[in-house]
């Protein structure tokens, strides 16, 4: 109650068709901090992230966002889902920009629907595009942009409603190394400005660089969590060590 965790996840559980994908997961994302969730694909990382803005509904446990309980024991207690989702911005692995709209309209849409006057929304969209270095692409449609550009527009779109926390779901997993660098540069900038972020990623060097806290998730459970220097540098658990070893042996080229 006294700590200002923007996201507080307590004892979360979730099954898909009898398969346990989240098992007693607890995690806090304090204001102004960056929490990274790492682990193998299929380990429950993405499901955990998607529970925060209720794109996925957990079966048990509690989720609090900005001091308000939004989901508890399998029941959505959040009265205003739209407001929750404006508090929580999300960036997807596959960008999911709206292909029928230009970049600037992608960034505007949610604002206009939230009641921001058209002109203000447009001005803010332009400012945000400038911030991600894409003012010159503002009138392009997504299919005319590179993956890196699309993901940067998606970040601008997620920021448009001034969220209190940003969720990133493997934001660079479908990008080439150059585009990955572009996107990470924008994220680093956000980190420096004090944006609260929860990040699911395979970019371990990046996670180590920007995170205040890293959680290693495997088989739906948090195996190990702590400052990045500990979890990534001196892992205590055998499973964490095994994961990091596999990662190092497969990620030589990307480094």
């Amino acid at each position: 109650m006294t700590t200002d965790a923007v996201v507080r996840i307590t004892a979360l559980g979730k099954s898909f068709d009898g398969r346990r994908v989240l098992d007693d997961v607890s995690l806090d994302v304090p204001r102004g901090r960056i929490v990274s969730v790492i682990g193998q694909s299929g380990g429950g990382k993405t499901t955990l992230l998607r529970c925060v803005n209720l794109l996925e509904r957990p079966d048990s446990g509690t989720i609090e966002v900005a001091g308000e309980t939004v989901h508890s024991d399998g029941r959505t207690v959040c009265r205003d889902l739209a407001r929750l989702r404006r508090t929580v911005g999300m960036v997807f692995q596959r960008f999911h920009l709206f292909p029928h709209l230009t970049a600037v309209e992608n960034v505007m849409l949610a604002q206009v629907k939230a009641g921001v006057p058209e002109r203000t929304a447009l001005e803010r969209a332009v400012v945000l595009l400038r911030r991600v270095g894409l003012a010159h692409r503002g009138l392009a449609h997504p299919d005319q942009m590179s993956g890196g550009e699309q993901q940067r527009v998606a970040i601008a779109r997620a920021l448009a409603l001034k969220p209190e926390v940003l969720l990133f779901d493997e934001p660079t997993s479908s990008l080439d190394p150059e585009a990955t660098r572009e996107v990470l540069r924008v994220m680093r900038e956000l980190a420096r400005e004090g944006m609260t972020m929860m990040l699911v990623t395979h970019e371990l060097p990046f996670a180590r660089e920007v995170s205040d806290w890293v959680a290693f998730v495997d088989g739906g459970r948090i195996i190990e969590a702590g400052p990045p220097a500990d979890v990534l540098g001196r892992p205590q658990q055998a499973r964490t060590r095994a994961f990091l070893t596999t990662y190092e042996s497969t990620a030589v080229v990307g480094a």
């Binding site: 929750l84 989702r85 911030r131 009138l139 409603l161 900038e189 400005e193």
Partner: protein
């Protein structure tokens, strides 16, 4: 006397105003029926995508039923059939109703395929931005589905226009009925039906070309409404401005970083 001169002997100037009325009638049948069929088709498509299975089943039965009955049979059923059990519809209502029922079955299939062709990620992205279900449909799914549905829908519109000719069987006073009237008073079937065919062609060909142009404009992302045109024009002007220095640190309400992103 040449063949061509021999072929055209009907005093067409006498029929000019009748033909014009008939042409307008054909267009009214087309406009009213297409609007109705598109609305009903969309409703049926949404029912078929519903999470509630009885609704899905109902929509499927509707679609399969009317897709597999000839249009002519539907016309006879609504006009003569219903008439025989004392549900007497006037010709215009019966005609439009038949066309709506028949074409909505086809349109619902086109719309359903288009809507389910939109990636779930689009809906999720909309939801994640706090859009209501209605906004997600109206601003995210529908405009994209429309693009996918347009070619098939356009074919159906032209087909519907030609389909109005079947209403000759209930004397609907449209082009084909007028043709039959002129034929019976002049006995010049070849000439009359050639002229009427030319009239149908003159309606359908520009219509389908227009619809193709519309498809291309939408695919190219051209703004079609004055509102969007205005918005994009303002956006262009704002994007071209050199950013004022005070504008730069707008991401979070924190001080500006030393260097800007490249």
């Amino acid at each position: 006397m040449t063949t061509a001169a021999g072929l055209f002997q009907v005093p067409w100037s006498d029929y000019r105003s009748d033909l014009l009325d008939a042409l307008l009638k054909t267009l009214s049948y087309t406009a009213v029926s297409f609007a109705g069929a598109a609305l009903l088709g969309l409703a049926v498509a949404l029912l078929r995508l519903s999470r509630v299975w009885p609704l899905r089943a109902l929509a499927a039965v509707y679609t399969e039923l009317f897709k597999n009955i000839p249009l002519l049979a539907i016309i006879f059923l609504t006009y003569f059939g219903l008439g025989s059990v004392d549900i007497r519809l006037d010709v215009f209502t019966a005609g439009c109703l038949s066309l709506i029922v028949f074409y909505s079955a086809y349109l619902s299939e086109i719309f359903r395929a288009a809507i389910s062709g939109i990636h779930d990620g689009q809906t999720e992205a909309g939801e994640a931005l706090g859009l209501s279900r209605l906004s997600v449909f109206g601003h995210v799914v529908f405009p994209q589905a429309l693009r996918l549905a347009l070619p098939g829908t356009n074919t159906m519109l032209v087909d519907l226009l030609k389909g109005t000719s079947l209403l000759v069987t209930i004397s609907a006073a449209e082009l084909m009925s007028e043709a039959r009237l002129i034929t019976s008073s002049t006995f010049r079937a070849l000439e009359v039906y050639l002229v009427i065919s030319a009239l149908y062609f003159a309606l359908c060909y520009p219509l389908s070309q227009l619809l193709l142009a519309l498809e291309r404009a939408i695919r190219a992302g051209k703004p079609l409404t004055p509102r969007r045109r205005r918005r994009l024009r303002t956006a262009r002007a704002l994007l071209a401005e050199t950013p004022a220095l005070a504008e730069t640190p707008a991401l979070a309400d924190t001080p500006s970083p030393k260097e800007a992103t490249a």
